[in-house]
Amino acid sequence: MNFNKCSLMFRHLAAYSLSCCCLILFSLKVFGDGNDTGRRAITIGTYGYQPHIKIGTGSLQGRGINYLSKLIESAGYEPIYQVVPRKRLAQYLANGKVDIAFPIYEKELRDSNQISVRPLLFETPGLCFRKENFIPFLSVLDRWKNLDIIYAGGTEIIPFLAKNNASLKPVFGANIQDRLIKMLASKRADAAYVANVYPMYNINSRFYKTIACSNFYGHSSPVYIAMSDQLDLSIIRSLRKSYKKLPHYAEFELEAFK
């Protein structure tokens, strides 16, 4: 009998504790949305997109984050970042799971609102070489048509390269960028094809001392910031207004180098 009474009391206590926990969590959620500043939170979906977005041990970093934060804050909102798998970002945006997404490509824009007609930046594919073998002009086909070129397996190859080089070899595995550069440095390949030159060859890149890259100009893809269709029109308008007032990303990038 005593045992039953104890058990019943324990159940009541457990139910009470659970309710309290739920209430606390619910309160946190409600006030968390409003956050410390009392401003509406805007969720930005993103992923590691070097060198613009860097996912480190703590918070997200990079000039892309600085730019997005400034954009959201200057419109009067609070940015909350959510790291999303690359392949699901456009879907998250379409479903309204995030309010804003970056980076978004042209083909992914269908179910969203562009923040501006102008892309934030462009990605350009290219070939990376050991510095002593650098080829500055990829329009001179004779210089690279017979080279052994490696690339990360699964990367889309531009038709111009596929048509003019018969020695393209995919490389698979973890840390694929490092593998490509190691193979290049150890002369196991003449060149490495990359879908976007900038993350590989920039003055802050760890590969900068080893390689130099040339671009396939004319094959660039625009990259956008996009907003969810489910955002209030007033928020969409204020974000666009804020975007117009911000310095162009190129000028913003300059700040990062100062």
Binding site: S116, V117, R118, P119, N202, I203, A212, R237, H248, L254
Partner: protein
């Protein structure tokens, strides 16, 4: 046909004057800024290819200042202000292209970087023309001697260049026309470019080839710095032109180029 196009251009000019935008004038300004930036790139070749040293004048406001100096020299007036979104876009595009090339420009291990007026202007035209605005600019070459297939002229550009090439005058000037494309008026401008002495170091004859500068004549090569065969152009030959296409209705429909 010609007269109707001229009338249309005049009407557009007057109409746009009344609305506060002179599109033919704006087109010309855009081309002149584009050309001045290309000229600066030529002047800055030693700085670009140097291993070290101060390269700050190749970026940001300092680079725009260099363009201003060239523009003043060429046109007797300062670089136009960014008082129209298309001009602002061009300045932003110029800065972006130089930033895109920062790693290359700053690379101390590359003796020859390959950032030359041709590659710069191609990148600039791509950046400017793919920015989602109804305006396109590009360098167009002559069909029989193209180095870059992307510089292939369209029908209008080909007709204009053919007429310019056939004219007796060595320095035919600017051509502006209003054309129709899918029921829309396009203000088209083409400014012919002629080979100057500077250009011939890559586009001239074997004796002009800068690669041969410190080499005895018996070892001269026909291949220029870029890796192409010297095409044997002479001073004053027609090189091609800078072509601008501006979709007036597109600009007006776009609510002055941005979402409202």
């Amino acid at each position: 046909m010609k007269l109707s196009r001229l009338l249309l251009l005049a009407l557009l000019f007057l109409n746009n004057k009344a609305l506060g935008v002179d599109y033919p004038g704006l087109s010309l300004e855009i081309i002149n800024i584009f050309m001045a930036s290309k000229e600066v790139l030529f002047e800055k070749q030693a700085e670009i290819n140097s291993a070290n040293g101060d390269k700050s004048s190749l970026f940001g406001q300092l680079f725009l200042h260099e363009i201003d100096l060239v523009y003043r020299k060429n046109h007797g007036q300062p670089l136009p202000k960014a008082d129209h979104p298309i001009k602002a876009l061009l300045y932003q595009s110029i800065l972006s292209v130089m930033e895109d090339n920062r790693a290359l420009i700053m690379d101390p291990d590359l003796v020859y970087k390959g950032l030359i007026p041709a590659t710069f202007s191609f990148q600039l035209s791509q950046r400017f023309s793919n920015s989602g605005y109804p305006v396109k600019i590009k360098f167009v070459g002559l069909r029989n001697n193209l180095v870059n297939e992307a510089n292939n002229p369209d029908v209008w550009e080909y007709e204009v260049l053919s007429k310019v090439a056939a004219s007796a005058s060595e320095d035919s000037g600017l051509v502006q026309q209003v054309t129709e494309e899918k029921g829309r008026s396009m203000v088209r401008t083409l400014k012919p470019i002629y080979f100057s002495l500077d250009c011939l170091s890559c586009h001239g004859t074997v004796s002009d080839n800068s690669v041969n500068e410190f080499i005895s004549k018996e070892h001269w090569t026909l291949i220029n710095k870029a890796g192409f065969k010297m095409p044997n152009y002479q001073l004053g030959d027609l090189a091609g032109g800078v072509s601008l296409k501006l979709d007036v209705l597109g600009i007006q429909e776009g609510g002055n180029l941005e979402f409202q």
